[in-house]
Symmetry: C2
Subunit: 219 residues, 2 copies
């Protein structure tokens, strides 16, 4: 069997961005695009785009560019957006509720099928027609429903225990919103969200802009 190319984490991180931009182009009825035009839109160099897309078999044709719909569908397959992924949210505090209301997940092929909490005041309430269930009932829920991804949005100190439970139930993907790098001794794929990273990038850029403006004033 042919060995598959190892795709670098940096390219994997850019995949969703390609997918989003292509989705926008489709919505605007743009059927084909050159790497140069895509580059101008996305702020990535054209050569980087060609290199990235080559990792996935290279869907461009010289002189024609990329077929937007084809590329969109191919990247969708790579991400698995048509796999019918299902997600549950654990923790229906502000963050959990914000995520439950975030309809963009569905647009990307991820279907929310359950929300869990332990707060009796909110159990039974519905968010977008999905009932908040007691966390004690999660075993049964997972037995009766295919659950691919658990979104963990509980307080920091409860996260390891909840994640452990989720992994033991056989859920294969965890999306962790606690500000900690979760690691588990199981065969589970974990994506840790670090919200403050974005803020630090913004800080860096503000810092650079200030230095530049101070320098311009000096010169």
């Amino acid at each position: 069997m042919a060995s598959e190319k190892k795709i670098s984490p940096a390219v994997i991180r850019r995949l969703p961005r390609y997918y989003r931009y292509l989705s926008d182009l489709l919505r605007m009825d743009i059927t084909r695009i050159s790497s140069k035009e895509l580059s101008a839109r996305m702020g990535i160099t054209a050569s980087q785009i060609r290199q990235d897309l080559n990792c996935f078999g290279g869907f461009g044709q010289q002189g024609y560019g990329y077929n937007v719909e084809y590329l969109y569908n191919e990247i969708g397959k790579i991400i698995g957006v048509n796999n019918g992924y299902t997600i549950i949210i654990i923790g229906a505090g502000n963050m959990g509720q914000a995520l439950a209301n975030y309809t963009n997940f569905e647009k990307r092929g991820f279907k929310l099928i359950g929300i869990f909490d332990i707060n009796p005041k909110i159990i039974g309430k519905k968010i977008r027609n999905i009932e908040i269930m007691h966390f004690d009932t999660i075993d049964e829920f997972v037995k009766n429903n295919k659950v691919d991804i658990a979104v963990i949005a509980v307080p920091h100190d409860q996260t390891p225990e909840i994640a452990d439970k989720v992994a033991r139930l056989g859920i294969k993907g965890i999306w962790n919103f606690s500000p900690m790098d979760l690691k588990l001794p199981y065969d589970v794929i974990i994506e840790n969200v670090h919200l403050s990273d974005g803020l630090m990038v913004l800080g860096y850029k503000l810092n650079e802009a200030r230095k530049k403006s101070a320098k311009n004033k000096q010169e």
Copy 2:
């Protein structure tokens, strides 16, 4: 004046991660670390680490490794964590409240000083001792307080208008939580948060794991 090295966006995106890991090491009283050890912890190759840190002047010494505290402080300076950045949150719905409660921002040097909304039911309420103010009062607030960053957590369709207002008030950084790439005709630095990107990366990894496991079964 010496020209400064242009730092690639990929390296900039990794800066917060270095900062977080170094902060953890400091908390564990680890005073120095080799690029090899840091590599094992962070899941980035040692050569990538050396390359990245070289962009910022290279703080390692052969045979000694990196001085954790020094490196932590230097990266902090690059990010500007000691600049006393101030942030306000616009939109105190679930997402805005979740962000207001996210104390990690303060740990990274970003101080929340105001929250704004238009819903009369929540105006006057406090989150972590910061009062939710009416959006109509933002002009006065910005006149009387140094505001570096506005976090926009309002519904999708209101985002462009709010962002425009914020930029005209002279706020130089926008952290946008609406699922749209915000662009403005002003000299403003915008970081767009795309929550579903993380979910798509998770989808990709689940897809790869499944293909691998199906292949193993076949062989």
